[in-house]
Symmetry: C3
Subunit: 304 residues, 3 copies
């Protein structure tokens, strides 16, 4: 038994798996057909779906989902497809990483993979997937590389195939950089009057918890102790000119259940970031947080 | 070939599986990460998802879903997470059951497991899961016990690990009782004028069929025979003061397709309860049934 | 590595799987319970979900989904359930096909299977599933044949059981015909003034791409070359009396990314049909295409 919120220790003990995420949704057969192709080509590999409900074309959201998942993945390969540039000259790639966890990440070279690759030890090799990408005239169109290019490549790699057969090595330094997680991308910045920090929302989850680009240590340096109270206000989404909302108090708690009805909380979440939360209610909705990129101002001491 | 609506006979023949249900949704990576952890710790166990779309925090709905599923589960363990109290002092538990079917149910001690455990032969042993629940400072928060506590415990049990290593035995009599399925919780009650029964809606499914806390035998005792007609009216949701709707007729049929367009039917459903149904249309919507707990009055003879 | 948009070559190499599609949704436990039953009865068979989000009761949409998936399925059996007639005298069937790919398709005899069976080599044997369909009084109702009839039959067949034990052979010629994909069902027809073609929308996918009942070769015969421009207007859904919309131009491209913002495109899709598309935006919404069956007029030369 592992537990304690830390990833299980020996991540190479189990049989290899293919960890699959996409923006395909599940209303159509896209995900099922990719599973079928993977089963044909790598019948011994378990396919684990991380999620297929990434907002269509939202490469940054897919990259965040992969980054959050990465510490918990065992041996095998990541197959990730959020790919608005399918069919263009954007490159299809396989990224070899240092470990622990999966050995390869397969997908488009559009920033989707690079943050996850960082969590998984960093890119040590990059392959430009050329095999299978030339389509003879009269063939179905080049709109489903998940089925036609990425799944076969992931199956090839997870079954121990020679990576060089998939295409030439390329310089990892030339890979498309990841999109910033939010504004400010570099992390918290001081507000103009120096009284607090401006941080970005990184993620709003199913329950309406708003993960901030803010670590617990930074909160302590703002003068807020666990159990103490901070002042929080939502500034706006990036680029908006709207006036900021009022300051409200948020109490730093360790469990949703410590909060009273409607009481706003700050909680170190399961990924180690500080999140804005309510008990059994979506904080993001209550605070009119639009999603990743919304700016939040936070400082020590209570709000109104 | 089994068939006949009864659960397959020999439920211990197959390899053990982990039957996983939650309110995690599938938009985020929660379900996928739990699968990844289970694969690391119990690589030989198949993970079967019952559903992850339980309404957030609705422990009663999760308990009902598990209870309905239980007769069809083979050997292994149930992993169930609908857990508004995560991080508080609510207990994490593993419940050993008499069988047939899964041997253990793992989840929070909040009533989620206890009805399913009843279907699976009743609780014969209860463990308070303490291993892995102490989180050192600086670790990610205690908000994802599905990943950090429940999945490791289920993997430990399904791989034949010693239950005592997970924590101390506790008295099953002290487990949190299940929430009532609806009002009236105890089953049908006579209406004030004695002319009929008041029953609760137990479940509204994907197709809008409204399962009632009413067995076919009770319907017969009301003087309604298969093929015959009953009078039905929706009273209100629990606690509402609204006036009841009009009585309408409902015909007791054996298949949706026996009903004419817009004709209300009573049908013994796949779990053995009487349901209010329409043909290819959601009866719950047509009757303004809000969901579980809505009261329905039913008596012999036709409505208007 | 296969690739090139063509189905992987050797489709019998892998272990048999059960390819499962339905209109069950995932909010309830229906899909999970069927998985549990399949695991009990065919523990060695992998179950691959194609989709469970077919619109409730939409047999034609399920048939289309299966037809599109079929070329990519390996050995095993298809289990398909979109079954408004459950419990009536509609037949439950297993259809043996010539291959390659799955050997059997199991489901209701309502047109759901027959188009997929055509892609899989055509029906060479048909069994009327009678075993397990008689329900003794007092048993749960006959509303969940996916669990009680179809899954046991699929498990029996995929584990090499004798098909004759499931029921009598029936004449494949007597199977219920597939619903037409759209109007005009037979394929493109000339418009009244002879200037263009009238084609039906076959499918609107997750991304709002509208697949037309139009092959690239037909577009060439209309005088439109790859890279060239066609005139397109939406006529109406079948049966509507509304006036057609204006003609708009659509450029024949090979990738979504070749299109400018708001520019309509024609693209050979991953199934080999011509689709109406926008770049990162739902074309079907922009063109007010209701869904399968909507008629689209297309001719050579630019629109306004």
């Amino acid at each position: 038994v592992t537990g304690s919120g830390s990833p299980p220790g020996s991540r190479s003990a189990s049989s290899p798996a293919i960890f699959f995420l996409s923006d395909y949704g599940t209303a159509d057969e896209f995900v099922g057909v990719v599973h079928a192709v993977l089963h044909l080509l790598a019948p011994a590999a378990l396919v684990i779906d991380l999620s297929h409900h990434v907002t269509p074309f939202d490469v940054g959201a897919g990259a965040s989902l992969l980054e959050r998942s990465a510490p918990y993945l065992g041996s095998g390969a990541v197959l990730a497809v959020v790919d608005p540039g399918v069919g263009t000259d954007r490159r299809a790639v396989a990224l070899g990483v240092a470990g622990p966890g999966p050995t390869w990440l397969v997908g488009p070279d559009n920033g989707l993979l690079i943050r996850g690759a960082g969590v998984l030890g960093g890119v040590v090799r990059a392959i430009h997937l050329r095999a299978g990408t030339d389509r003879p005239p009269g063939q179905p169109g080049a709109t489903f590389d998940g089925r036609d290019v990425f799944a076969p490549a992931a199956a090839h790699l997870v079954t121990g195939g020679d990576p060089a057969r998939l295409g030439p090595d390329i310089d990892p330094a030339g890979l498309v950089a990841a999109e910033p997680v939010g504004v400010p991308a570099a992390g918290p910045v001081r507000t103009a009057d120096g009284s607090g920090l401006l941080v970005a929302v990184r993620w709003v989850d199913r329950f309406g918890n708003a993960q901030l680009a803010l670590e617990p240590d930074t909160l302590v340096r703002l003068g807020v102790a666990p159990g103490g109270v901070a002042r929080v206000r939502v500034r706006s989404s990036a680029g908006s000119t709207g006036a900021p909302g009022p300051f409200v108090s948020a109490r730093w708690v360790q469990a949703f259940g410590e909060l009273g009805p409607g009481e706003l909380g700050l909680l170190t979440d399961a990924n180690g970031w500080v999140a804005l939360v309510l008990d059994r209610s979506p904080a993001a909705t209550a605070l009119l947080i639009a999603g990743p990129g919304t700016e939040v101002e936070i400082s020590g001491g209570p709000g109104r």
